[in-house]
Symmetry: C2
């Protein structure tokens, strides 16, 4: 079975109270992304630590119940952090960073490396008999097989989300197809 | 069979005439590396393109017959390059960069992404019946299997060389062990 890959660059999700401090206004839509209801915002922030900082980190909307900062291991070395690999919202013992917006700044936990995950509806997971973890074959000049977690929801666009480290290790581009074994 | 991983950060090898222009003096040893006769130098350069630049790129010695710049795909995006994945010395259609040293600068081809490779002696390759390409299993929180080329020489320290994208995708640290399948 083939599936497309969506490559996630570093980004942040914000809760309302943090959005208020950082921007003092609502998020504005730059473009919708594949997952239903989700969008990239025009708003960007700076992520700062004692060691370094990264500018122009995009905010993804809509507002969530938690603030979460998703970075790659490459980013983590630059920032001097050791974030856990996690699914969205699982933020116990996540790393602490300072987020700087045009209206203010916050120091918050919530910094993680996102796990590799497949988005699929409950219905399709059952229909196609997909287990909770899958093996995915990637072809090309630097081929291999990676383990990917399966993330179900009521509504979902069927795609695998990988971060830029995974994508760059396998020379994958956005929307390229890989194979579920 | 287990084997250790050596993680190669971006680096350059220099031919004598380029070393003369960039530094105007001999290379000096910072520390020896595992491969026999090879060493990290105290000398560093800047790699520059029209789009961006990366500072503090380490020179590896000794001097070679060709100048070669090894970067990751992550670096390539930053620099606006599309280097081929190559074994050392195979530099046809490699990318062009400017290298800046304390004594001068050169514009040269030779910029590649190094292929994933296992260093092994001719003797051991035959002894252990290792094919020209191997599959390597990586455990951990983000596990998988990658294809690795086998690179033979008369003298070799038995280890796999991966770049920082591969290492960061699998959360591998220098000298960690992986398994040849």
């Amino acid at each position: 079975m083939k599936v497309k890959v969506g490559i996630s660059n570093r980004h942040v999700h914000l809760k309302q109270s943090d959005l208020d401090i950082l921007f003092g206004k609502d998020l504005t839509i730059k473009n919708e992304i594949n997952q239903p209801g989700q969008f990239a915002c025009n708003e960007v922030v700076t992520i700062k630590t004692d060691k370094s900082e990264i500018n122009n980190v995009r905010v993804l909307g809509p507002v969530r119940n938690y603030t979460q900062i998703e970075i790659s291991k490459t980013d983590a070395y630059k920032l001097g952090l050791n974030p856990p690999v996690r699914t969205s919202g699982d933020l116990d013992n996540s790393e602490v960073v300072t987020i700087i917006g045009p209206n203010g700044s916050i120091k918050t936990n919530g910094c993680i490396i996102a796990d590799r995950h497949l988005h699929i509806t409950y219905k399709d997971k059952e229909k196609y008999n997909i287990p909770d973890k899958i093996l995915v074959k990637i072809d090309g000049i630097k081929p291999g097989i990676i383990e990917v977690n399966v993330k179900t929801s009521e509504e979902a666009y069927f795609e695998i989300h990988l971060d830029t480290d995974d994508a760059n290790a396998f020379l994958l581009k956005n929307n390229e197809e890989v194979e579920i074994l």
